[in-house]
């Protein structure tokens, strides 16, 4: 078990013939992900790496191969269009890796997804890796290990850092999920936490937040009210100056709100231990888990 994916996950990669799309498609396949097709308009009829058929549209990939999940590696100007296409074609899970998507585009796409019951992960995210099941995106497979810990994060590489430490400590993962650093994202902390809470394989989980917005505060409330599993949190950006966008479009302290201090306070008030350093996450988790 894992969250959001299972053995029936069949992947179509949008932008498969691009540099990053191609590289990571190979990585996904190497991990054992069932990549059934690729899409690049104008390249229909080609075969990627002599293995994966390429089509002009997601609809063809769905029709001919039963793709139900899309992973998107297209440039920012086409990314929202790619999400619309995947959802319209019937994919029920869409993972958008692309960074730099205009926010208004994501605002427009959201109700389209809701109407069709489609889950979006991202954009501007590393995607999801469910050890032993599937790798959807760019999380490096070498660092994961199958196990009982869930991980959800707004970051990319910081996620890898924590996964690396979990694995080094012998704590395997049920699902590692990067939800993305943009202000408007498909799957947020609440969705992920709800799923981890319901997932029987996940025994404990880690949440990695950062400055900007109040998703961590909302997650804290939810965890306090509904979650019995052990949770440890980390918040990046304690030293970030206000009013400056820290890389991620969503990582900004504006009008005095969205600070790391506020988030840490809310998490601690909800009884969730917050690690001071990434290095402290694993010991904190072990401490409260006491298994």
């Amino acid at each position: 078990m894992a969250i959001f994916v299972d053995d029936s996950t069949k992947v179509v990669v949008q932008g498969i013939t691009g540099r990053d799309g191609g590289f990571h498609t190979r990585e996904m396949i190497a991990y054992g992900t069932d990549v059934v097709a690729g899409v690049t308009p104008g390249r229909g009829g080609q075969v990627f790496d002599d293995k994966v058929p390429v089509y002009d549209s997601v609809a063809e990939a769905v029709e001919k191969h039963g793709a139900n999940t899309s992973v998107i590696f297209v440039p920012p100007f086409g990314a929202a269009g790619a999400v619309f296409e995947a959802a319209d074609a019937g994919c029920k899970l869409v993972v958008c890796i692309t960074e730099g998507v205009p926010t208004v585009d994501m605002v427009k796409v959201m109700p389209f997804l809701k109407e069709r019951g489609v889950r979006l992960i991202g954009p501007n995210c590393p995607g999801l890796l469910a050890p032993g099941i599937a790798k959807l995106g760019i999380l490096p497979a070498s660092i994961v290990k199958d196990g009982p810990v869930g991980l959800v994060s707004r970051s990319g590489t910081l996620t890898y850092e924590v996964v690396y430490q979990l694995t080094a400590a012998g704590l395997g993962q049920s699902t590692c999920l990067g939800i993305g650093g943009d202000p408007v994202i498909g799957t947020n902390f609440l969705d992920a936490i709800e799923a981890f809470n319901a997932d029987p394989k996940t025994e404990a989980f880690v949440m990695i937040g950062e400055i900007g917005g109040d998703a961590e505060e909302r997650a804290a409330e939810y965890i306090k009210a509904h979650v019995k599993k052990p949770v440890v949190a980390f918040i990046a950006g304690q030293t970030a100056p206000p009013g400056k966008r820290m890389g991620h479009a969503g990582a900004i302290v504006s009008g005095g709100s969205g600070t790391a201090a506020e988030k840490i306070k809310a998490l601690e008030a909800a009884g969730i231990p917050v690690a001071e350093r990434p290095l402290d996450i694993v010991p904190k988790l072990q401490e409260i888990w006491k298994r």
Binding site: V107, P111, I138, Y160, R245, M246
Partner: protein, 377 residues
């Protein structure tokens, strides 16, 4: 991207919002000439990318040409919260009968554009939000249908329950502001205050717009709105080079891939008693040229005494990063010590490449940070 009031007003005008006339002047004589063009009284308003201009004396009401001259002279060159005033906006002054706040921003929770409006206009809205949140009305706009007539009018009636004409004007202003917001790809758009004159005319007196950096590619003209004089020199260089960079005050230069890891690295430098010199995300791409650019920008800061690379390879491959670091160090005359920590995709290949150099390797983030602080002295 933040833009000036006069630029925001240009966008507003293009979307039919009622903005009083106005032009910017960079010199006192120019300001006076504009005031003569518009006729007295006028407002002389500093154009700086920060709030609190009024309190700082950067906004003056002028009834005579002498007033204009004095005000322009005082305001041009003034420092407001670290921002030097290079331009003043000269705009006809209007009689104010009532003031309102109308603003829109991207709401992360509803995933929509959020309209906020209040009859408490002309004051700091953050303060209203803290003290009397019930005086701010909110409506999350459904992007499929836009701001509907009854929604806009309903909001107008909340602000002026007994004046249907003004409520209609306020509502129409909100609908135009929404079209401007979406059309311009804003992340924030505010009119504060929107005013009515004693005869019932509505005017957007002040304007604030932040543009979505991610959407600038489809508004090529907006690049001209960027105030290069107001931008930190190294931040501008980083932007042109496609790097996410924020200048800080410390001595440990940080080059990190990924914004979250970069923030965590800064936090860790602080944790171990050091001071980060910057935030720098070299991004998801692994172009060696980017590393060269990043190093160049960081090394321009004379305060930087050590450099810390913290790279965890996912979409960025460690061998590419290693090549970039080697290329950079070979082509540059670098005197400060460089600590490099590489982990992730192709980390073996990356470390093998670095092994032949005199860089300081580190296995973990904590080790790397401590070593960099130590080397920075």
């Amino acid at each position: 991207m933040n833009i000036h009031e006069y630029q925001a007003k240009e966008i507003f005008t293009a979307y039919g919002l009622p903005v009083p006339g106005g032009k910017v002047a960079g010199a006192v004589d120019e300001a006076v000439a504009l005031a003569e063009e518009y006729g007295l009284p006028v407002m002389v308003k500093s154009q700086v990318l920060t709030g609190g201009r009024g309190k700082a004396g950067g906004v003056k009401f002028c009834e005579s040409m002498d007033d204009v001259r004095t005000a322009a002279d005082a305001i041009l060159g003034m420092d407001i919260k670290g921002h030097t005033v290079h331009k003043v906006l000269i705009t006809p002054a209007v009689d104010i009968d009532s003031e309102f706040y109308i603003g829109m921003l991207i709401d992360r929770n509803t995933k929509r554009v959020l309209l906020m409006a209040s009859a408490e206009g002309g004051v700091e809205i953050e303060q209203v939000a803290k003290d009397t949140p019930e005086l701010i009305f909110k409506h999350a706009i459904d992007p499929r249908f836009g701001l509907l007539d009854h929604e806009a009018l309903g909001m107008g009636l909340k602000l002026v329950p007994d004046d249907i004409k003004k409520a209609r004007q306020l509502g129409a202003t909100m609908q135009k502001l929404y079209r401007a917001f979406v059309g311009a790809d804003a992340s924030l758009a505010e009119i504060n205050p929107f005013i009515f004159t004693p005869t019932g005319e509505g005017h957007a007196i002040d304007a604030k717009v932040n543009l979505d950096d991610n959407a600038l590619f489809r508004h090529p003209g907006y690049e001209d709105l960027r105030d290069l004089a107001a931008e930190d020199r190294s931040e501008r260089k980083a932007r042109v080079a496609g790097l996410s960079f924020v200048k800080l005050e410390g001595n440990v230069g940080c080059l990190v891939n990924g914004a979250g890891l970069a923030m965590a690295t800064m936090d860790l430098v602080k944790y171990y008693g050091g001071q980060p010199a910057n935030f720098l995300d070299i991004g998801g791409s692994s172009n060696p040229e980017k590393v060269v650019n990043a190093l160049t920008i960081i090394l321009e800061d004379p305060e930087v005494k050590a450099i810390l690379f913290n790279i965890f390879g996912g979409i960025t491959r460690c061998d590419d990063v290693a090549k970039g670091i080697i290329k950079a160090t070979e082509s540059m005359d670098i005197t400060v010590p460089i600590v490099v920590r590489l982990t992730g995709t192709n980390e073996t290949e990356g470390r093998a490449l670095l092994a032949k150099t005199d860089l300081h390797p580190a296995e973990t983030m904590d080790e790397a940070v401590q070593k960099a602080i130590e080397l920075a002295g």
